[in-house]
Amino acid sequence: MQLPILSLLIFFPVLGIALLIFLPRKNHRLLKLTTLGIALVEFGLSLPLWFRFDSTTAAMQFMERYDWLPQYGISYILGLDGFSLLLVLLTTFLTPLCVLATWEDIQTRVKEFMICILALMSGMIGVFLALDLFLFYVFWEVMLIPMYLLIGVWGNPARRVYAAIKFFLYTMFGSLLMLVAILVLYFYHGKVTGVYTFDLLKLYGLNIPFNMQFWMFLAFGLAFAIKVPMFPFHTWLPDAHTEAPTVGSVILAAVLLKMGTYGFLRFNMPLFPEAAYYFVPLFSVLAVIGIVYGALVCIVQKDLKRLIAFSSVSHLGFVMLGLFTFNVQGIQGGVIQMINHGLSTGALFFIVGMIYERRHTRMIADFGGLSTPMPIYATIFMIVTLSSIGLPGLNGFVGEFLILLGTFKENKILATIAASGVIFAAVYMLWMFQRVMFGEVTNPKNKNLPDLSGREIFIFAPLLLFIVWIGVYPSTFLNKIEATTTNFVAKMEQAKATKVTLSQVFKGEAR
């Protein structure tokens, strides 16, 4: 029998939690080392996915299927395609780095913190692998709790409770509508075929009338749009990011936001393709507003974390714009941009976290001239900044270029407005960089700041490796998603072709 590698990935961190429970709470070093070990093993476990992944097919791979509650049509189905492959690997790749980043940052309730991290890891991987709607929903909700705790318990004391509750309620609100939609889908499938099931691949086969697709798309879409976050559902993000501890911000930006975009790809679009086409104008416009609005608001931010949070709104706008092109370039770009954003923005939050550990402030005005005491930090910060503003040769460019290329095919005006976001990105990032890093050291507290330690450099090394790799040789990654994308686009094309007849059906029903 083949090793159930996907289940292993989901449950190994749970085993790790069980182990942590028995470790002495006082021994921080042991707790952190153990978690690091677990995260590294988990990363090792995920590597076979990469090497054994068949990039010629769009079919789900490494599938696992067990009945769970057969009387309700609930099963435990896991599978992986090109889209989820990259996201799962991003998760397992970043978690060990996050653990490393807690070394000096987290000194209170270390045990609980590590448990939260592992629970989060398990939940996130589950979300990306679940192919049963019920199972998916379970993971989706499970993962909320550790994140809520990360912000609420280890966050910045002043406003952490506000931020945590805002995060929780916002997401919960979206999720509830999604739950309703999932149930509707479940009953509809039962009504039409006589089989009650949450099996996503079976639900894909449904021909749902347009009026129903319309509402279902909105219900799912709201949950995911909040998660992305799309304008105007983004206001939870700056608060959550600002108040969360460094690692919380990293995971939030790098992985959690991707659940929203992934949700569109995995659920919204293939389940409700006609509605998806119908909503292209709305979502594309919202995405472009997000790009420009996020970038403009970034320019005037005074708090580093808030600035990066708003830049996420802008970057995720690019991703959404790409996904809603429904052409190969846009979607390839969108997916690769999810990974890029994970790497660059993740790295940016690490960067801010490290300076916060040294100075206990995130306000841009408190810095200036840091290049002189911290040259290594300056170099890394610069490279990540350039990656974030999409300099060719680094990862960000590949994603943005493909997205804009794909968008330009569908809508020249939107592509032009979106491309202006590239200019604003240079404005806000370079201005921020200048104010923090350049000039003379004016604040005596910054005079003797220690440069990065070996551990800190070690956190960045792998991130920089992939930032350059994706920039110089993106084929490694684009090839893995090519088949999935092509298949996805072909399916959507089909829906586009049949859209007319279906809407006629809908009209007939309406009469």
């Binding site: 739950l179 052409n327 060719p392 493909l402 330009f408 592509a415 491309a419 200019i423 993106p474 084929s475």
Partner: protein, 632 residues
């Protein structure tokens, strides 16, 4: 050899990596040797490839070398690939050759700077991107170089990052360039979705099927030209270049005079096949070029910072090159690009050598009489000045004359007239600089005056080589003599000419040359009169013509205007978006609904029994109702 063309940019990349990672631990001499040596290797390889290319039969030219497939998605596929043709070879030779000389000079010039390894790291990276830009066989890879050189320009302008003005200037350069790049990007999208490829030769071949004046090609060429106005500092995006003088002088020589800023001209010439199909775009190119040429020249008249004089002169000369392209004389544009690279690099390096002699001073009002103290610098600077003023037989004479000649014989009297006036102004302000710096009474600070010294050989030898090139560089394009125009013959396979009928009489050509010389001579004499014979006159004139003088002196207030109509509105608009829209409207709605709920729940709290079953029941009921409604 040709198949190793990809090594040309790889050498500087290696220099970048070595000096970037280990530069701080290596001895200074080694850092300098590596930094300059890798460029020497690139230059040597370029020469070898050039010689081999000359031997190739016409049928096997040009050569395309594909290294690997870079970005592919669906039917979009773009390689990292090189196009070896006459145009790219000329550019590779100029870029690697001039860079090599400037690197050697920099070893001397930057010797006492604590950031020595960092300087060479950036400079090598710049050459890498520049070689990528000119070697690329497709638009996207050219764009990589295009943005890459912009990055290095940013890093090097802000090299002395502790200085606020330097880091401001760097940021300004990057952002303004990005505005141009935005146009380039859209131009590429349009080309790709029109032709299905971004490969130069494929695009140009397919474009041949479109009629002259086709809307799509006009749009694409205009968008690409937006990119060129950014990179090559043309109206309206030229404002970053004068500020870029904050960078070390070798940087100004290499990036902001000889190579990077000419990228726009190279791009337009490279796309001559497209521009030839878009007469409207050509008119735009020529007009912008002509206006920039004269506009920048006037600003050059009233500057006192020697590097700023040269900066405006660069903007103006770039305008000439675009003027050439715009009237269809792409070859003349590239010819001027080459000679300009020699004499303008020389002028900047000379200015560097001057400021080296007077302890970093750049203000010409505190120079004067330096001729005998720094003779090599003086002589080479004078040669370059004669070249830029367009005096026979210096290099600039031939290239500038060819541009004006083309404008005239094509009946573009307007462009010819502007070009001629700009030539007059150029001769004037350049000799104004020469007189202010090298002649007359010394106005040097007395503390500095006693140790004015000539620069070391590491700096003067590059000056002399460039001076040599500024003298002979023009002979490859000798008009009149049959077969004298080797440059044009060599370059013509890469260029799609925009036809003008018949060959004009030799007498016209000679007459025009004499006329240009006379114009330049008058310009020089005017400078002589004002700055040697009657040094009191400039001040008097400035008083007399207060308003126009202030206008020029303050650079027509363009920076202030941009600040008022673009920068400030964006800043205040963004603040408004953040504090009003985001905090009050969007988040206000969210928190508003939250407080509504809170108010409601305060009243509905009696329903809160605390029993989980009751809640569960309520949820099940609610969900069932909704589901039932939707399915019913």
């Amino acid at each position: 050899m040709i198949q190793y063309v990809w090594l040309i940019p790889v050498f500087p990349l290696m220099g970048f990596l070595i000096n970037g990672l280990y530069g701080k631990r290596l001895p200074k001499n080694l850092v300098g040797t590596i930094g300059a040596g890798v460029i020497g290797l690139s230059f040597a390889l370029t020469v070898a490839i050039f010689l081999e290319f000359l031997k190739l039969p016409a049928a096997s030219r040009p050569v395309e070398i594909v290294v690997y497939n870079w970005i592919a998605a669906g039917k979009f596929s773009v390689p990292i690939g090189f196009l070896v043709d006459p145009l790219s070879l000329i550019m590779l030779l100029v870029v690697s050759g001039v860079s090599f000389l400037i690197h050697i000079y920099s070893v001397g010039y930057m010797h006492d700077d604590p950031g020595f390894p960092r300087f060479f790291t950036y400079l090598n990276l710049f050459v890498f991107f520049m070689l990528i830009l000119v070697g690329a066989n497709n638009f996207l890879m050219m764009f990589v170089g295009w943005e890459g050189v912009g990055l290095c320009s940013y890093l090097l302008i802000g090299y002395w990052y502790e200085k606020q003005s330097a880091s401001d200037a760097g940021k300004k350069a990057f952002v303004v360039n990005r505005i141009g790049d935005f146009g380039f990007l859209l131009g590429m999208f349009l080309l790709f979705w029109t032709f299905g490829t971004l490969n130069f030769r494929e695009v140009f071949a397919l474009a041949g099927r479109y009629p002259v004046g086709s809307g799509i090609i006009t749009a694409a060429t205009l968008l690409l030209f937006v990119g060129a106005t950014g990179k090559s500092a043309q109206i309206p995006l030229y404002t970053w270049l004068p500020d870029a003088m904050e960078g070390p002088t070798p940087v100004s020589a290499l990036i902001h005079a000889a190579t990077m800023v000419t990228a726009g001209v190279y791009m337009v010439a490279r796309c001559s096949a497209l521009y030839a199909l878009a007469p409207f775009s050509l008119t735009v190119v020529a007009t912008i070029g002509a206006l920039t040429a004269i506009f920048a020249a006037t600003m050059g008249m009233a500057q006192f910072d020697i590097k700023r004089v040269l900066a405006y002169s660069t903007v103006s000369q770039l305008g000439y090159m675009f003027l050439a392209c715009g009237v269809g004389a792409f070859v003349a544009g590239i010819f001027h690009l080459m000679t300009h690279a020699f004499f303008k690099a020389l002028l900047f390096l000379g200015a560097g050598s001057v400021s080296h002699a007077v302890s970093g001073e750049l203000d010409m009002r505190r120079m004067g009489g330096l001729k005998d103290h720094i003779p090599i610098t003086y002589r080479t600077f004078l040669i370059a000045t004669l070249a830029i003023a367009g005096i026979f037989p210096f290099a600039g004479f031939f290239s500038k004359d060819e541009i004006l000649f083309h404008a005239l014989v094509d009946g573009n009297y307007f462009y010819w007239g502007i070009g001629t006036v700009a030539a007059f102004i150029t001769a004037f302000y350049m000799f104004r600089a020469v007189y202010m710096v090298f002649f007359g009474e010394s106005r040097v600070d007395p503390h500095v005056a006693h140790h004015v010294h000539e620069s070391p050989p590491l700096m003067t030898v590059p000056l002399m080589i460039l001076a040599f090139l500024s003298i002979v560089g023009g002979f490859v394009g000798f008009p009149i003599i049959e077969g004298g125009h080797k440059f044009k013959e060599f370059l013509s396979p890469s260029i799609t000419p925009v036809g003008h009928g018949g060959h004009p009489p030799v007498s016209l050509e000679i007459g025009l040359m004499a006329f240009s010389m006379a114009v330049a001579a008058i310009g020089i004499y005017t400078a002589y009169k004002l700055y040697m014979l009657r040094p009191d006159l400039p001040g008097w004139l400035a008083e007399k013509f207060r308003v126009p003088y202030d206008l020029i002196y303050n650079k027509y207030y363009v920076d202030q205007i941009y600040d008022t109509i673009v920068v400030e509105p964006i800043k205040s608009g963004s603040t408004l978006l953040w504090t009003q829209v985001d905090d009050k409207v969007v988040d206000g709605a969210v928190n508003g609904s939250a407080s509504t709920v809170a108010w409601l729940s305060a009243h509905l709290r009696r329903l809160e029994t605390g029993f989980l079953q009751n809640y569960a029941l309520a949820i099940v009921l609610g969900v069932t109702l909704v589901v039932g409604y939707l399915l019913g």
